[in-house]
Amino acid sequence: MTTPVIEMKAITKTFPGVRALSDVSFDVRTGEVQALVGENGAGKSTLIKILSGVYQADSGAVLMNGKAVHFRHPVDSLRAGISTIYQEFSLLPERTVAQNLFLGREPRTRLGLIDAAKMRDETKEVLALFAAAGRIDPDRIVGELDVATQQVVEIAKAVSTGARVVVMDEPTAALNEAECEELFATVDTLRERGVAIIYITHRMREIARLADRVTVLKDGEVAARFDEVPAPNEIVRAMVGRDIADFYAPPASPDEVGGLVLSVRGGGNAVLDGIDLDVRRGEIVGLAGIQGAGRVALARALFGDAPFERGDVTLDGDAVSFGTPRAAILGGIGLLPGDRKSEGLVLMQSVRDNGMLTSRAFASLWSSDRRNAHSDTVRMDGLLDHMEIRAASYDQDIRALSGGNQQKAIVARWLSMRPKLLIFIEPTRGIDVNSKAGIYHLMRDLAREGAGILMISSDLPEVIGAADRVLVMQAGRIVAEFPHGASEQDVMHAATAESEVAA
């Protein structure tokens, strides 16, 4: 093996009241993929931010090609050849692909003006590296592209800087399987070109597929280092300090599944067509599919956010047609949005207020906030206790809680409404392994208590493991159904088969 491009030595970083990293050493070599794993809060992001110059370490050293470097600003690291792709897209939706790719380092003409022609040409060159992206017009407005293509642009942007080190922070979080494969291919290409890649992920499958070496962080320290990719169990044990035997809750036994809660026949709108869907009391139905297959659109249609324009929906035996989320909630549907921060939480309000939000929304505006028909503060506190939410006080702002605890507070919001159907969108996105198991068990408990659960996830093993039935969507239609425990390959094939033919 060659000498490391990047070597971080004995890095320690303290925030007011928290020691985020202590004595962490880490290195990555040219032409390898180094997986960096660990629970949320283990220190991965802090380590990366030190590498990319967002934070400065309290002590320790960063060496690049053996020479000490000090990055005081993200630009410093960028100039040195380290390119970081963050979880949140950093694209400008109102600007073109080319403008985004060359953001902050636009080529210029002799007059000092931006050289638009050169920018366009170089954009085409860079995009040509990516199979799917070759057809992207450099002059397209990014906001008009779909999410997956945006992700490609995002990666292209990192590559186009000629980076020798690329950091990817959960790059597949927003991608489906097919897109993941495309991404993996891109990563392979980069590796072949001698780029060093630091790859942060929660997904064991990706580690197995991509990584050359693995470093596990736990509580701000290096818990384990593997020079070859070990069995997933070993990694998980290093991450959480124990095995997780019952990661997924057991599937529903036949007698637990009751009558129909939801039934859709011939549902459709601008994005969906011919949707036939049944969800029964006590069962968890998973929805799989590639990006844009219509899973979230289906959820939005059921929830009245972008309603069906045709077809019939019956909920608990009654024909219904919901035009707004409010109407859907009143009818007995609940929904946990996919993006907690932007769609789920009211961050500046307390944990309790977040939990009581929905029950209050259906009480009179003018009546007391402490008690309403669905809940009261005492019951809500009990519910929060029951779900073992870790908070100093339920009066504290919810923004200070971890992702898993935040998600539980949103679940509590729906529990008080006793919904007949509960839709989970990406319920475990950005949640650490321990909390994930908690969420799966919570879903199962809800189903046992009589609710129907519809779960949408881009994490294929999760859909297969947690759901009793898996429905596969493609191009706005439901194209296949699999029982619990189906093989990933089969599901994958169903999700992509036709589109491969089409392509």
Binding site: F303, R326, L347, Q349, A363, S368, D369, S393, A400
Partner: protein
């Protein structure tokens, strides 16, 4: 966020937090008393409260709109319209008061409804929507009166802004407007901090998308916030008309003062945080600043400068504190 940060937050959170606006107010009042010992007499502080009443009521209403994420710039001209309209309608008839006042309150609510509808359904940002409303209402006030209001405000109407309740134990007398002030602020504070309305106003200002997906009737709550702001402006107009009689530019400048007062009270622009009591404190502090500068014999220009500096300093300080506590 790691779980360990929670505990540190908890520690800073449990420290007794006094809203700095009360410290500011205390300092200002001390200054006033130093300059004018007569302030501790009922005439002194009651006059002060009477003077602050319209602004305090206005700020208490404005804080609803600010907390919900918007602005209401139309309140100043709404005040003018209420005073001018009252003079046109009462037309010197003392008996008219009994239907004119409810009508004016209704008009305040109506203006709030229109503001809310424009923001919610035409999707015009409230800064522009209420700016348009401000210009329109000002024009309406002139159009209605032809530029010179036609009637006097009868004493029955002016009762709320001008009269005193005498022979009150302890303080001697209480201006009616001060009673109105406490009742209105009390009700608005209760609505904001003890009812579903207040919680949902906070929620839609904090994250309207999440609130909508959680079932909050975002439009209804937002329109209600604008209605309360309009209502408070109508009440402020009735008090101002009562206090000082008819004129055609009573309300000008009040919209920015109301926003200033709310911000001094720690309300967060663009929504999510706001307290009616603190806005009330902000209004008192602002009035106290003016009073103090008057006693110091400082001219109007200096008052402007001081108001500007305090405004910036208050928000800068709040930002600094927020950064420190990480909340």
């Amino acid at each position: 966020m790691s779980d360990r940060t929670e505990t540190t937050h908890a520690r800073t959170r449990r420290l007794p937090q006094i809203n700095p606006v009360w410290l500011l107010l205390a300092a200002l009042v001390a200054g006033i008393i130093l300059m004018n010992p007569g302030f501790v007499e009922p005439t002194g502080y009651m006059n002060f409260l009477k003077r602050a009443a319209p602004l305090a009521i206005l700020a208490a209403g404005q804080v609803y709109v600010i907390t919900s994420g918007g602005f209401d710039l139309s309140v100043g001209s709404l005040i003018t319209l209420v005073v001018v309209g009252s003079s046109m309608l009462t037309n010197n008839d003392p008996a008219a008061t009994y239907w004119v006042i409810p009508l004016m309150l209704g008009m305040g609510l109506g203006v709030g409804v229109v503001n809310g509808l424009v923001v919610c359904f035409l999707r015009v940002p409230s800064l522009i929507a209420t700016l348009g409303m401000m210009i329109t209402l000002n024009g309406l006030a002139f159009l209605w009166s032809g530029g010179a209001p036609r009637g006097y405000l009868p004493d029955t109407y002016r009762f709320f802004g001008r009269e005193l309740v005498r022979d009150v134990p302890l303080v001697g007398f209480i201006p009616v407007s001060v009673i109105v002030l406490f009742v209105v602020v009390g009700i608005l504070a209760w609505l904001m901090h003890r009812t579903n309305l207040g919680r949902q106003v906070h929620a839609i200002g904090d994250n309207p998308v999440a609130a909508r997906l959680a079932g909050v009737a975002v439009n209804r709550v937002r329109i209600t916030a604008f209605m309360l702001s309009g209502l408070s402006a109508a009440i402020a107009g009735i008090l101002l008309g009562g206090f000082a009689g008819v004129s055609t530019d009573v309300g000008s400048g009040y919209e920015l003062q109301a926003i200033t007062a709310a911000v001094l009270g720690g309300a967060q622009l663009l929504g999510g945080r706001g307290s009616v009591f603190a806005a009330f404190g902000g209004a008192l502090a602002l009035t106290a600043i003016f009073t103090l500068l008057n006693f110091l014999g400082l001219p109007q220009p200096v008052r402007q400068v001081v108001q500007g500096l305090i405004l910036i300093a208050a928000v800068a300080l709040a930002m600094h504190r927020r950064k420190q506590t990480g909340t």
